[in-house]
Subunit: 215 residues, 2 copies
Amino acid sequence: MTRVRLDLNISLDGYSPAPGDSADNPMGEDWGRVVEAYTATRTMQERVFGDTTGKGTTGVDDRYAARHFEGIGAEIMGAAMFGLHTYPDDPNWKGWWGETPPFGTPVYVLTHTAPRPSIPMNGGTTFHFREGSIRDVPAEATEAAAGQDVRVGGGIGTAREFLLAGLVDELHVAMAPIILGHGNRVWDDLRGLEDTHRVTSEVAESGVIHVTFAR
Amino acid sequence: MTRVRLDLNISLDGYSPAPGDSADNPMGEDWGRVVEAYTATRTMQERVFGDTTGKGTTGVDDRYAARHFEGIGAEIMGAAMFGLHTYPDDPNWKGWWGETPPFGTPVYVLTHTAPRPSIPMNGGTTFHFREGSIRDVPAEATEAAAGQDVRVGGGIGTAREFLLAGLVDELHVAMAPIILGHGNRVWDDLRGLEDTHRVTSEVAESGVIHVTFAR
């Protein structure tokens, strides 16, 4: 059965880093620190950075990184993650994921602006634009996933919308052992998540704490 | 060398439960859930509830519970934890820890009201009352501890005062795998604690995540 899955990288004090204001480092210094161990995995080195020389860690962090890509048949993301806000008035803008985005599946981009035609990309990715209730999109994505899982890709605002609506079957949180003190608060208004989801945790060699809430 | 140590029981979303408003359950329902696995340990059964029949869990949680009591030569606590606010005008009030408090060491009670004479109790506990800067008390407690460690007992307000002042050498946090959504925020203003303290974590059989920040 298709499950809606969500992976988050956060700090020990429950923050998803807010993007920085530096053009050199658009995701911000905190983001780099929170995802450091994840970025170092062999899976991420291969899948995101295209390094197929076998570099990268192969421990617990890598197991979760690999799981992130396994069995995904469709993706859902917010408009900002696609890059819709960068050139909102350019109908030919294809987002900032390049000609061959790393998804390889249908990707449903949530938008509050007028939907635009779908964009087929190389490598199996097709971007579809959907407005309206977030409750409708998982159903469509589930059908597109054809028995595989649906991933909510982000950003954190979209992720929290899905969590608060009770639409996430499996939440995996990689908590870096650092205290950020500010950013986007991940856990607000999620009291009792452990009542609907079973919680398991393990600590990676890197010190990252992996917590999974699974329905 | 004497170390100032602090143990906290918190939720995964970083809250120390606020006391409830029910007379039947003065610490509140959330408190019971956060400390549930800790209370179930053999050490806590023996040390706090006086059950010496060997009941209680003996896994990872119990190891941390035992560590809580090991090598402590003096204790520091807030006025509320002693019970000073219950009968503030009664000079004969000896706090709510009974005739034989579980500390067995000098206990320094921080107070903003006029200090009162020290109170010797059974079992090696003597309550001392100190006002003024929290920076002075660890020095006095360290001397009293005679080479053993000093424990900051609580409550959470006192604990955070010591953390924010950089006076804690070893912080152990037992994070229950539950989302409370409200209570006393533990991590605020502690950004960068990992720069001065080395972080290690492990997951107990109960699901509690034990995180230690050690200078």
